[in-house]
Symmetry: none
Subunit: 206 residues, 4 copies
DNA sequence: GATGAATGAGCGTTCATTCAT
DNA sequence: CATGAATGAACGCTCATTCAT
């Protein structure tokens, strides 16, 4: 009846907007000037909010960093779970390419923040990933050259993540170089795939 | 013949011992609690020294970090230059194994510190490495499957460093697992070596 | 009508009161124990304020001293400009008395602080004073015994300032002794005035 | 008969030389960079002595300043006592000139130090001076225009000291200007001397 | 709630003073 | 005694956190 229906939980909305702008400010400061330059007052100023309000939503400075970390972890989880969901329909070589694409996309956004806060999801997510990837690899056991597939899964994930993470940090431009991406995919393929199913792309005779 | 040989100059000794204990304390604090937790007073306390003494040997806090960084950089340079010197006498597969062994050894000591302070030798050393490695690859051009050998050299070094660095940080125990090391070597071999010279170690039938 | 008129903006008031108490504390410490004994923590303690608050209003310790100096300079400038404004309407002997009175009043307040911080208006004000005083002396050229009137003006001002300044520092009680003031005025009169217009006050036969 | 006779109290000599160089260093530092820049370590370094030795002869930093002050006071006392000794043989006008000359000479040496440390002989010496000067003035009572001769003596001494002291600090060059000295002498003469014995130097008709 | 002035523990650094050599 | 390395209280200043408004 009244316009009430439109005015949905104004408080919650305001709160959410505040939290969002605070987290956004935190992220920007870390990305631009590093973790050491992060101060609650500065966050509040950049977010256009008072310090007091900041402390209404975050118990202390560390909580800001944790929230940023959590969001990064969530972004990773979401993207990787989507990837895992697509996995069954993908051949090994397509899976590898999808994996690299996904990681590159994830590391493109704010590499500085990512490096500063880490992902923070050491156990649970990592485990889940390992399990799903492990299962996937089992279903392709015949095409895989590695005898110890769980170990291979781990090394595969670590290698992809490490290489892309470090490159994002040190030479971000490379991330967008298709030749580089091809090299990375190839590296992973050659590691995982049995010779018969290997990509034919690079060859000394080519 | 006199016991003179054992008598070391007391002043120099004290000084050196002090500097060492200060650097050691600095390293421990960074390794255990991170760069942000580093404070000159804490360093002094941990080193069993007064702040004043600390400032007798280091002009400011940053100098502590720089010294730690310099020591890491020196350790890396020494080890990698030794490795490069051995390269010419090594076959590709041996070279890869030596490379991995060297990096693993370098990352075993204080991965946290290494991550926090970096190596500090971004340009010169890295460049020198790239050049020498590039030259080495050219002399083995026939055994290498990658058409773009400079790019391959870079990806090879990045992959090795990234994988070992990140593993040292996240799962240091793995560094000492021979199976893991074997996987890493194999990953690099398969990426670099032409099929004819590929390792026969892993096989789906094994 | 409402009591609004009495209600002052609370924020501005608090701020102003804080600044005042900080400056007051600074002044007291300098006066009692000297500039060397001035420390921001002590100022804060004496002012009944936290160091943090002090730094909300003053960017650093030097700013405290500068503010004190500025206030002294302002007090001097105001008083001396008022005096200069009155000069044209005054005879030489009255002018001298007014001059002495003004300086004595200015030096009565906190001689220690004044000595420690100086006035800070070395060039501009001093110059302006010299000019005005010089002009005044010219209009009374006939009554003045000194041939070099600009030099006389300078020595006059220096002598008055120096004598009163040093007495304020070393024997403040004298400043309120009318006999002493009379001596000072007489000293200046005898120096400046031609014999015909000399005060008849003191005489060996009196 | 051995050369012993020449080697007089070597220890005392060494000590004395040390004390001298320490005091000299202290004086130089104060004169050049101010009291605030005085530090025991710096004094020791400038004096070519170890801090430990410094503390052998001076119980603390303040003692350094006190010694410098004492030496200044002694220099003043000596010079003024010599002056006082000459007083009886001097006419009033000569006495005034001698007084000014003496003070100017005393203030020429290290005005910065003098101002920083003061003279430190407030009571005894000042009193002694006042007494002798008072006595001298009494013997010339007939030539003096001031009825209250003790007060006149004090104002005379204060005016001379203040004017010369402040000028030494602010415009040291003036100290060597004969015209300025003449003005100062004349100021003091006119204040003290009865009209009959007044200097004829300056006159409006000259 | 929101605000931002106020707080004070703690930081990096200095320097008067001590004491083992 | 001379030395100067060692000490640690104290300084100027910052910033995470609180709380009166």
């Amino acid at each position: 009846m009244a316009p009430k229906a439109l005015r949905k939980k104004p408080k919650q909305d305001r709160s959410k907007a505040m939290v969002e702008s605070i987290i956004e400010a935190t992220t920007r400061i870390i990305e631009e000037d590093g973790l050491a330059a992060l101060s609650t007052n500065r966050v509040a100023r950049v977010a256009g909010v008072s310090v007091g309000s900041l402390y209404q939503y975050f118990p202390n400075k560390e909580a800001l960093v944790q929230e940023v970390r959590a969001r990064f972890a969530a972004r990773f989880e979401t993207a990787l779970l989507e990837l895992l969901a697509r996995l069954p329909g993908l051949g090994l070589r397509e899976a590898i390419r999808a994996w690299v694409e996904t990681l590159v996309a994830l590391h493109t956004e704010s590499p500085g923040v990512h490096n500063a806060v880490g992902t923070g999801s050491p156990e649970k997510t990592h485990h889940a990933l390992a399990t799903v990837v492990g299962g996937y690899l089992e279903t392709h056991a015949g095409e895989i050259r590695r005898p110890d597939r769980p170990l291979a899964g781990r090394v595969f994930m670590d290698a992809a993540e490490a290489l892309i993470h470090n490159t994002a940090l040190r030479e971000p431009a490379l991330l967008e170089d298709p030749a580089w991406a091809e090299e990375v995919c190839d590296l992973l393929e050659r590691y995982i795939l049995a010779d018969g199913s290997t990509s034919s792309t690079p060859s000394a005779s080519a």
